[in-house]
């Protein structure tokens, strides 16, 4: 069945390229872009200092080529923590795909791609989110940056945008109570393709300044001996207009045949560009965040996992953008572990850029 459909898709794609356009502005061209971020992290557990680090967390180069206005290559290579040595630091091919953009309502891509889950996985450049580090939610619940081998179709129609992705699956042996599905990503490293992951997302984009939508993801994640089917449902909304910046995301992961039954989290950001009050032509945005994440929000056993991995966080911070593609950030937060009300204090400084 699959083979028949895939070959029909192939024939149709060949058909599509027979249409030609007048005013064909796109010439074959190489594009280079990138982003990066330097972080200073300070952490205290109670009165005890647990971490002080000055880390060039991510250096990413984007390389693309357009054969014409429909066929293009997009790729992104990322170096994490500046140096790779025996399991420390990471060098990753985060994106590398051939893209066929037929029209606004339909495009196709295959290669190393990003599933469309939440606001940050596909748009993760540092000037685009509040806080020096990505929100806890995008680490503990949705494991950004989530990438892998696969194919997707996407498009926009009447103010809706959609993307449907089929991707390598997750490795269920690497699921843990402390980090949910995060460890299960195969990251395109000789990935098992027995049980593929299916992801569909829809967004409403026609309200000015507002983008909101939801996604559903299913994978019958395979381990050495047992399968753990997981399903991820998430809702996301972002408002950016009239100098107000606000984000809300909420997501749930359901597991079957597993000690962890669900992971659940949400966060809320609210910021205001105060530079607008004095007509200063930069962005100066103080913000607050409340975040609640629990990688083991319901469990089968009687252990305290559902409290041990439940963290609530309150953050205040500031983003300063002298120009829209460079950002200086500072934030301070308190993270409370539900189990024993233990408080971690975090202070971060950051510099990020994109081009």
């Amino acid at each position: 069945m699959k083979i028949i459909i895939l070959s029909i898709i192939g024939i149709m794609l060949i058909n599509l390229s027979l249409f030609s356009q007048d005013f064909d502005f796109a010439e074959p061209q190489v594009n280079i872009g990138g982003y990066g971020e330097l972080h200073y992290n300070k952490q205290k557990l109670g009165n005890q200092e647990t971490k002080t680090m000055l880390d060039f967390h991510r250096f990413v180069l984007f390389f693309g080529y357009n054969w014409n206005e429909k066929w293009s290559l997009k790729s992104e290579i990322e170096l994490e923590h500046n140096y790779v040595y025996s399991g420390q630091g990471e060098l990753e091919l985060e994106q590398a795909y051939v893209n066929y953009h037929y029209a606004d309502y339909f495009g196709f891509q295959a290669g190393v791609i990003l599933p469309s889950i939440g606001l940050i996985n596909e748009n993760h450049e540092p000037p685009l989110f509040f806080g020096v580090e990505r929100p806890d939610y995008h680490n503990r619940i949705i494991p950004t940056t989530w990438f892998g081998s696969g194919a997707a179709v996407y498009g926009e129609y009447f103010g809706f945008s959609y993307k449907v992705t089929i991707l390598e699956g997750l490795n269920s042996d690497k699921f843990t109570a402390s980090s949910g599905i995060r460890g299960g990503r195969q990251k395109g490293y000789k990935p098992e393709a027995d049980a593929l992951l299916y992801n569909a997302r829809i967004n409403f984009i026609n309200f000015e300044g507002l983008r909101f939508g939801a996604s559903y993801t299913y994978n019958d994640a395979k381990g050495d001996s047992t399968n753990i089917p997981v399903s991820i449902t998430e809702f996301h909304a972002k408002y950016e207009a009239n100098n107000i910046y606000s984000v809300f995301e909420i997501g749930n992961i359901g597991y079957k045949n597993s000690n962890i039954q669900t992971s659940f989290g949400y966060y809320f950001d609210l910021g205001y560009d105060v530079a607008s009050l004095v007509n200063w032509d930069v962005d100066l945005i103080p913000f607050i965040r409340y975040s609640d994440t629990n990688t083991a929000s319901s469990v089968n056993d009687n252990l305290n996992d559902n409290e041990l991995y439940h963290f609530k966080e309150f953050m205040v911070g500031l983003s300063f953008k002298p120009i829209s593609q460079i950002v200086f950030k500072v934030d301070y937060s308190q993270r409370i572990r539900e189990f024993d009300k233990q408080i971690t204090y975090l202070f971060n400084l950051g510099l990020g850029y994109m081009f």
Binding site: I5, I205, E208
Partner: protein, 184 residues
């Protein structure tokens, strides 16, 4: 679970099928439709490929901090009863990697009547096509401010496109001023 797999494949199949039978409108036709629907059927549209004078181009590029896509733009004069009723310029700016083709309509004094994205070629950032977002440019001219985040709202998920289209539109307000002043 096999039902889910098949459903996903059928969905993809359906999308490709739909896109095959849909009609794709050419840029040139689309521009003419827009001009006629704005200025009326009785208008005569005079089209030329307008070569931008080098000094003017450099001056505008410096002010806006964005280069012209090409040495020429597509220039339309809208004529009613032997009088110029308005102008339109079709130009491109780069999004993340591919050109975004956009059209700006001006009254005969060079104030923006409307702007729209005629062709978008990327997966992300297509929200700049939103008519409401484009309405923010109405009435602006060469002397207006075009600050993103201030006069012009940004769009979540379309930061790069918003910045480049905004600059592109500003460039055309400066160019149309030159064109009108030179009586071309």
């Amino acid at each position: 679970m096999n039902i889910n797999k098949d459903l996903a494949l059928y969905f993809i199949f359906y999308l490709i099928f739909i896109s095959n039978i849909s009609f794709s409108q050419q840029i040139n036709d689309e521009v003419k439709d827009i001009l006629i629907s704005t200025f009326g059927k009785s208008s005569t549209i005079k089209f030329t490929k307008y070569e931008i004078e080098k000094n003017a181009a450099t001056k505008i590029e410096k002010q806006v901090k964005q280069k012209f896509y090409n040495s020429a733009v597509y220039y339309y004069q809208i004529i009613n009863n032997d009088k110029i009723n308005g102008y339109a310029l079709l130009d491109n700016v780069y999004g993340k990697s591919l050109p975004i083709t956009f059209l700006v309509l001006f009254d005969n004094a060079g104030n923006i009547i409307s702007s729209q994205i005629v062709k978008y070629r990327e997966q992300y950032g297509g929200s700049v096509k939103n008519p409401q977002w484009n309405e923010q440019f109405i009435g602006k001219n060469y002397s207006s401010s075009f600050e993103v985040g201030k006069e012009i709202n940004s769009i979540s998920g379309a930061t790069i496109s918003v910045n480049s289209v905004t600059k592109g539109i500003q460039k055309l307000t400066l160019l149309i001023k030159e064109i009108i002043e030179n009586g071309e």
